[in-house]
Amino acid sequence: MTALLEIENLHARVDGKPILKGVSLSIAPGEVHAIMGPNGSGKSTLAFVLAGHEAYEVTDGSIRFGDEDLLAMEPEERAHAGLFLAMQYPVEIPGVGNLYFLRQALNAVRKARGLEEISAAEFLRKAREEARRLGIGEELLKRDLNVGFSGGEKKRNEILQMALLEPRLAVLDETDSGLDIDALRVVAEGVNRMRSPERGFLVITHYQRLLEYIVPDVVHVMVDGRIRRTGGPELARELEARGYEAFVGRLAA
């Protein structure tokens, strides 16, 4: 069976500094993978490389997304092909309404996929329904995109976008950071609702806490730009119990 995402020997640098030093990873449709690791290990870099941020330069390796060469695609083409990145720090765009942005994004993606634009009524119905499930109030939908949103509101809003854009692969970059336990649960439920046999997830997190709510199929531990160990959900608990320090030390020895 073809992998949804196939990363091989990926090397990347930022400002000339090597960050990823040979990452290999394969996600099959329907799987949820988690990447854990200490700060500075390259987790977020991997997320930005997947999404095609220009500040991250790939120096070696390959990424296949389904049948396509992901690295040859522009960021928007990756989105059209079904890659979604829920960002750790969603940006603010003053003057652009939250719902308006969402509809522009949805229509851009639909157009690229050969679908008709969604009608205003249908869009509103879907957006409101999903917002309600995520505990996003009507007022937040009308505000400017991410402007003045709390950390938790921004993260919920990312999940709202994900739900409407229906990606094939969703990358969640530290979606749990800055969330209280209730918000964490709501966000995790949002993700779990979207799990399906066709869709894959790559959940990047520093803490095991999130993985109690989004139970992964596979856990990878990333240290210093490489994946050092891969296992099942029990690996996350092991990390939590023993800490990265011991882990890094043992691996480095």
């Binding site: 400002d15 999404a51 095609g52 941020h53 220009e54 500040a55 522009e74 960021p75 928007e76 990756r78 989105a79 059209h80 979604f84 990145l85 960002m87 969603p90 940006v91 765009i93 003053p94 003057g95 652009v96 942005f101 522009q104 994004a105 949805l106 851009a108 993606v109 690229a112 400017d144 976008q161 854009l165």
Partner: protein, 481 residues
Amino acid sequence: MATAIETVREVTASEYKYGFTTPVEEERFPPGLNEDVVRRLSERKGEPAWLTEWRLAAFRRWQQMEMPDWQKVKFPPIDFQAISYFAAPKQKVRPKSLDEIDPEIRRTYDKLGIPIREQEILAGVAVDYVFDSVSVATTFKKKLEELGIIFCSISEAVREHPELVRKYLGSVVPPGDNFFAALNSAVFSDGSFVYVPKGVRCPMELSTYFRINAAGTGQFERTLIIADEGSYVSYLEGCTAPMRDEHQLHAAVVELIALDDAEIKYSTVQNWYPGDKEGRGGIYNFVTKRGLCRGRRSKISWTQVETGSAITWKYPSCILQGDDSVGEFYSVAVTNHHQQADTGTKMIHIGKRTRSRIVSKGIAAGRSDNTYRGLVRVLKSAEGARNHTQCDSLLIGEHCGAHTIPYIEVANRSARCEHEATTSKISEDQLFYCRQRGISEEDAVALIVNGFCREVMNELPMEFAVEAKKLLGISLEGSVG
């Protein structure tokens, strides 16, 4: 780090979608300007003696005047003797009905998306079509006449309503006001005239669509709008021109007069040909626009979206003479490639408790320069005057400039003036965020810029807001790469 907005992409001038020329037989004066030309122009238009004299007086004033040099914009000297001061499509008489209009001219406006007809898309908007030096059609005249509203070309107004024209022409912008106003007063060829009688609320948007077609000409139109006591009118102005290597001069004068309790809303979407990416060709848009809030509680509101022209140099202003009168100026000025803009407003507070509001959004991309220059003057008589000014600049790329030059002169202690200014850049992270959600880079720039301008766009009448939004996107195509 290679930044997304560092390199300005090569763009072809073909992005200007209105750059075609209409093959229409024209009548035109040979280039050159002297008293004889002014006389001939006036005669050709069948004007009364007082107007011929008025033009000649203006011409003599103009001859004594020097081209101003305080502006930030730069351009080579203009040879006023090389311009033809009258060009008109040949037609024996002005068509009596819309069906008699030259099919070529009709096709021109069709291509521009503003077909000459009184139906469908333009229902609810009456349009005066000015083609080079003359007005070629005005729609919905009958309907407006029933309400006593006069909406016609200024040439027709001179013939049909001389008392109104004579009373108000030059009353807000006197012929000797400035170099270009004097030139316009001498050679203005056509333009629009509006009179809204007492207590009438004009039920539709009035609009003039200016089109420069002929080469080697300038366009010198004159617009005069009078809102009598308690009346209301919303007026829209749109402009385009063919692509040419030469610079063409557009030196218009617009005068607005609002009497007691009257309100005039004047909106402009200016998309004159901006020149190519090397800065060749394009319109010099040197315009004097001024509104006089003569009556108490009167209100004049300017909204402009300026995306075109090689150089935009104008300051739509309000003289707040009546007590409690209100002046507003909402502006979006976009410059790309080698375009230059030096634009802003003047708010002159004379009456008591007069209020003014200025919202200016300048967007600079490519190698362009974008200047806001504004004057708020509160005279001694203007007890309790208020002004709020907000100037925001958005930079795209590394080679453009944004400048804010406010002048505030206050002679009354009870007045309150506030000035806020910000400068920002479109960040790479904003662009990346939009693209990650599937929105193309160019659409993302348009989206972010439209967000930046929203306060101003909200002031535009519906009919224009959609067009203006698209225009912003088109003007900035290729500004990132």
